[in-house]
């Protein structure tokens, strides 16, 4: 009863201020949008054919005309142009690009001046360093997106404002390499349809006008097979594992790439793009599990047999076990398992494998070995996918 009452009172309370106040004051987003709009640009560059747009959005991060946007094909041109909020049309040039953050810094270039020289502009801007010091936004936070979605705005027309909430803070990729997408850190998923053509590089802000993130591209999430609406947080941080050869010895090294570092150094023209070697970790350790014939797109990872003396045999795998999770990652099929092992493991690595045995999940510790020189019984090739 109490809760029922509660709803009624709550509804009444919420309704009062809206009706009792002048329209303008009841609409705090208006002021915010006007202010933020001055800190945004429309970007025009390469593309314009076969579904690649030649337009996008950018965020001004210095009075001198430094702009943060997405590292897209748009920038592959010497004819990069931005439109300011007041309709000014200015040339711009790329200063730095980091695919690991899917970010780029461009700078407005004034006629007759070199790119390193101050432009003499005095633009409204987001203080990126300040924004990056704030804590991350939480699920349920109200947010606003400002983008040039569908190239609806030209010259002095304001960008489009959208309202939504942070739907989740999560990783887009990296869980299973499900995306053809370089950025592996956390993103804000938004419940408004923000990621449309032209929106990439737009700003995600909170109700107070703080910059939260950079609106990303149009990407389909294969976990749910839905289009994602996401922004990369200003605090973005990615750890990249690379292999380096030091004194003829191969060593694994972790490099941390952060958005604040990229922006600070990029604005000074000092940023060096991370070169990621093709292979990250080993080619996959040896386990010795023989799965059932892999005849479907998603054949469940049932163990048919275990190679005697193999790591799987030592770990206690048994025929009919269903490999369900490896290091917490769900294994939907044999293909997923094989891909995961190949991408993420090497000899000597210890995996926590949960198998379904009867009606319960059992956790087994699997210490991978080196790939044997002689080929082990291989899986039959998966059936060709029907178109």
């Amino acid at each position: 009863m109490m809760t029922r009452y509660g709803t009624l009172i709550l509804a009444a309370v919420l309704a009062v201020p809206f009706t009792a106040m002048p329209v303008r004051a009841a609409d705090p987003f208006n002021e915010l949008a006007e202010k933020t709009n001055q800190k945004m640009v429309k970007v025009f560059g390469a593309g314009g054919f076969s579904r690649l747009n030649n337009y996008g959005t950018g965020i001004i991060i210095s009075p001198d005309g430094h702009i943060l946007t997405v590292a897209s094909q748009l920038l592959d041109t010497s004819e990069l142009v931005v439109h300011l909020y007041d309709g000014q049309r200015l040339k711009a040039q790329v200063l730095a690009v980091e695919p690991e953050l899917d970010a780029a810094i461009i700078k407005i270039r004034v006629e007759g001046k070199k790119i390193e020289e101050p432009t003499g502009l005095n633009l409204a801007y987001f203080d990126f360093a300040e924004a990056a010091k704030k804590p991350l936004a939480e699920t349920g936070d109200w947010v606003l997106a400002l983008t040039n979605t569908f190239e609806i705005a030209l010259r002095d027309e304001p960008l489009s404002l959208q309202r939504g909430v942070v739907m989740a803070r999560t990783k887009l990729a990296g869980r299973r390499g499900v995306f053809e997408f370089p950025y592996t850190g956390d993103v804000y998923v938004v419940d408004a349809i923000t990621n449309n053509p032209g929106a990439a590089g737009g700003a995600l802000i909170n109700r107070k006008g703080d910059l939260l993130g950079v609106i990303g591209r149009e990407i389909k999430n294969s976990l749910s097979d839905t289009w994602m609406n996401y922004a990369i947080p200003v605090q973005a941080k990615v750890d990249i594992k690379i292999k380096e050869t030091v004194k003829d010895k191969e060593e694994e090294k972790t490099i941390t790439v952060t958005m604040p570092d990229f922006v600070t150094q990029g604005m000074q023209g000092k940023y060096r793009t991370v070169t990621r070697p093709k292979t990250t970790v080993g080619e996959g350790g040896y386990h010795g599990i023989v799965f059932v014939p892999n005849v479907l797109d998603r054949t469940p990872a049932y163990v048919e047999d275990v190679v005697p003396g193999s790591p799987a045999a030592k770990a206690g795998f048994r025929p009919d076990d269903l490999v369900s999770f490896v290091d917490g990652e769900p294994i939907a099929s044999i293909n997923v398992f094989n891909a995961w092992i190949k991408k993420n493991t090497r000899s000597g690595q210890v995996l926590r494998v949960e198998v379904r045995r009867g009606e319960a999940l059992q956790t087994l510790e699997l210490t991978l070995g080196a790939q044997p020189t002689r080929p082990q019984p291989t899986q039959p090739a998966p059936m060709p996918k029907t178109p």
Binding site: T3, L14, T139, G140, M167, S224, T226, L322
Partner: protein, 717 residues
């Protein structure tokens, strides 16, 4: 109690905003609302579980593209969402999450580290829900929002577990309002919060933390677990009220799948909104048949609710399950009757067309119907009926007396109401010597065979004389096949015109290939009128749907192909044009039918022989139009076409026959055969022809002749 305190504290916080200065109030209200939303999510979060699956198909649903067909959905591999509905381990979720038939299901409960193996207990096949059971105790139950209190405009939060893999984090939240209640035939709440595979199975939550319902994909146009997924994040999402779910939970727990409760009746016409709910047909062995309902009964009330039209009836029956009992008040003749405890059934037995084995002579004003042709070895043949005899009266053997058969329409109508196996008595006036005899015959299911060679003429040439007198008292809608046009009012002056023409003995009707433009829509279509057009004969109508993808027959070409057919067998051709190059779209049905109805109004058309005919994607459109304009279309003939949607039921008062063909080298032959099998399964009369050494070509000679025989025998009984 804890929940109550939380709410109270929140109220104090919100109430405080009233005391703030006016300028900051709006922002503070937003702040308070934002907090309330997070609190609501936090309140339900412990009951929102993560579901993971292994195995199963990559692509589900649809598979066959076509107008109106559900698109194939690629099922994501990520986790999905469920809601606790029993402290002892019962989880309810959307059936969509298992549409790909995974082999294994695991559930993670927030705050508990161990993943649990889940079993499917049962499915609710009408609300597309699945009940799972895990071995767990003391699960936190969500609080249901009272269904009666759900109002349009209330905040609604859609929660899910797909986006963030960690079940101990807050669930994903998308915010909207309640857009409508009682949607999808009274089964769902509608919201503008973003719903998608990211939160199907999760709760739709009110701002006080009570649960409105469980998020499911849904559509009022299609059924099945993937229906409605194509409009995900489209601002139109649905949730099944939790109160309803809790109501049927005891039945689901028994492990029995729940099906939609069906009455098994079909309306007389197609106007579900204006026409009275008069029964046009009753499915055999259905709830209606068992309760003794009859064709012609008018439904007045169901469970005390007035039923002004069929649409209301659908809304009242929509939420019902198999086994539910309803009370029906109906009008039979001029007497009201009440049927109590009519038990709805879960499956209906398909209607099977009964077959006597003769072709009636057309345009014969009667009394009686001349027999044009008798199918060899048919019940009519076995009973000794001969071409030239006149059928005068007819009734089932069990009936007390024979009913007079005025004309062909009456004969078709009388036999539609009977099922195979029925023994009938026929009073026949012999051609030889005018002798009147009574014979008996046992009706059989309609066979696949076509008459080898059809005798001509097929028409007595008295179509206009055969028309009921303009101010006659005969019930108009009892005669679905009467020659002439659909809308009687408009038509009458034209009949007079035609009579005048007849006096001149030279009809002034323009013949040949005529291009026309639909004035209102500016779309072109063409008509082919045979040179020997005679308004006193009723003509069949072939609506040709061209293939938009390939160089397919069109316009004049089709006219040439059908020229002799049109002249000898009395057919008119009409050819609408697809609006786009990418194929036909379902919404074009209405436009096409406008053109068809224009033609119906201008010429003497035999309503028993209006056929949708098409090749390739045009054939697919022909299938679609056949099922969606059933008041007009009586046959569908296709070449190399695949059924885009699941076939609808075969009903007595809107018969539909099929002629399906495909080339043996057509790569889609397998799908064409599958389409044919689906139709046969629904007990539609289907003629199937596979053409040798043929890919995507039009009919070969042999098949074309068969097609013509089929066209000319659509009014068989």
């Amino acid at each position: 109690m804890i929940a109550c305190f939380t709410t109270r504290r929140l109220l104090i916080a919100v109430a405080a905003t009233l005391l703030a200065t006016p300028a900051s109030r709006a922002a503070d209200v937003n702040e308070a609302t934002e907090k309330a939303m997070k609190a609501a999510s936090a309140k339900v979060a412990p009951s929102v579980v993560k579901i993971e699956t292994a195995g199963g198909a990559e692509v589900v649903g649809g598979g066959k593209k076509g107008p109106g067909g559900p698109p194939a959905i690629r099922k994501g591999t990520g986790p999905t969402t469920g809601l606790v509905v029993g402290t002892d381990g019962f989880i309810i979720t959307s059936a969509f999450n298992f549409a790909n038939k995974p082999s294994d299901i695991f559930v993670t409960i927030p705050g508990r580290p161990q993943r649990l193996v889940a079993k499917i207990v049962a499915n609710d096949q009408t609300r597309m829900l699945t009940l799972l059971k895990v071995d767990a105790k003391d699960l936190p139950m969500p609080d249901a929002f009272p269904k009666a209190g759900i109002d349009i405009g209330q905040w609604s939060l859609a929660l899910g577990r797909t986006s963030d893999p960690d079940a101990d984090h807050p669930p994903s939240m998308s915010v909207g309002i309640v857009s409508a209640t009682n949607r999808i035939w009274g089964k769902a709440i509608q919201t503008d919060a973003k719903t998608s595979p990211v939160n199907y199975g999760g709760p739709l939550v009110a701002i006080n933390g009570q649960v409105y319902g469980v998020i499911v994909p849904a559509s009022n146009r299609a059924e099945g677990e993937t229906a409605g997924v194509d409009v995900y994040d489209g601002g139109i999402g649905f949730a099944v009220p939790l109160e309803d779910i809790m109501g049927v939970l005891p039945r689901l727990k028994t492990g029995q799948d729940l099906k939609r409760g069906l009455l098994g009746i079909n309306p007389q016409g197609t106007d579900a909104y204006n026409a009275s709910p008069i029964i046009g047909a009753i499915q055999p062995d259905s709830a209606a048949a068992r309760a003794g309902m009859l064709v012609g009964d008018k439904i007045l009330e169901v469970d005390g609710k007035k039923i002004p039209n069929f649409s209301t009836l659908q809304h009242v029956l929509g939420p019902k399950y198999e086994g539910d009992e309803i009370t029906i008040k109906l009008m039979r003749g001029d007497k009201e009757q009440e049927l109590k405890a009519v038990k709805l059934v879960g499956t209906t037995t398909a209607y099977v067309n009964a077959f006597l084995g003769l072709l009636p002579m057309r345009d014969d004003p009667g009394p009686g119907v001349e027999i044009r042709y008798v199918y060899p070895k048919s019940p009519a043949d076995l009973a000794g009926l001969k071409a030239g005899d006149r059928v005068m009266k007819l009734a089932p053997v069990a009936a007390p007396a024979l009913s007079p058969i005025q004309n062909r329409a009456a004969l078709l109508g009388a036999l539609q109401r009977l099922s195979p196996g029925t023994e009938i008595k026929i009073e026949v006036k012999r051609k030889e010597g005018d002798k009147v005899e009574t014979v008996t015959a046992k009706l059989v299911p309609a066979p696949e065979t076509l008459p080898e060679k059809l005798p001509l003429p097929s028409s007595a040439g008295k179509a206009i004389e055969g028309q009921p007198k303009p101010k006659g008292k005969e019930p108009k809608d009892k005669d679905p096949f009467s020659p002439g046009c659909g809308s009687e009012g408009e038509d009458e002056p034209k009949k007079d015109e035609k009579k005048d023409e007849k006096k001149d003995d030279k009809p002034k009707v323009e013949t040949g290939f005529i291009k026309r433009t639909n004035e209102a829509l500016g779309r072109e279509y063409w008509v082919y009128i045979p040179e020997n057009y005679d308004a006193n004969k009723s003509y069949g109508l072939i609506v040709w749907f061209h293939d938009t993808t390939e160089a397919s027959k069109d316009g004049a070409q089709v006219g040439r192909t059908f020229r002799t057919v049109c002249e000898d067998h009395n057919f008119i051709l009409v050819g609408p044009k697809a609006g786009g190059k990418d194929g036909w779209v379902p919404s074009e049905t209405e436009i096409v039918m406008q053109d068809v109805k224009t033609v119906l109004g201008q010429y003497t058309i035999d309503k028993a022989r209006v056929v949708a005919h098409g090749q390739g994607n045009g054939g697919q459109m022909a299938f679609y139009v056949g099922f969606n304009a059933r008041d007009v279309i009586r046959g569908v003939g296709t070449v190399g076409a695949v059924l885009g949607t699941n076939p609808k039921e075969n009903v007595a008062n809107q018969p539909l026959s099929f002629f399906i063909s495909g080339g043996d080298k057509d790569p889609t032959l397998k799908d064409i055969k599958e389409s044919k099998d689906l139709l046969i399964e629904r007990r539609f009369p289907v003629v199937y022809r596979e053409m040798k050494e043929s890919g995507k070509e039009y009919f070969d000679r042999v098949t074309f002749d068969d097609f013509v025989a089929w066209l000319d025998s659509l009014d068989r009984v």
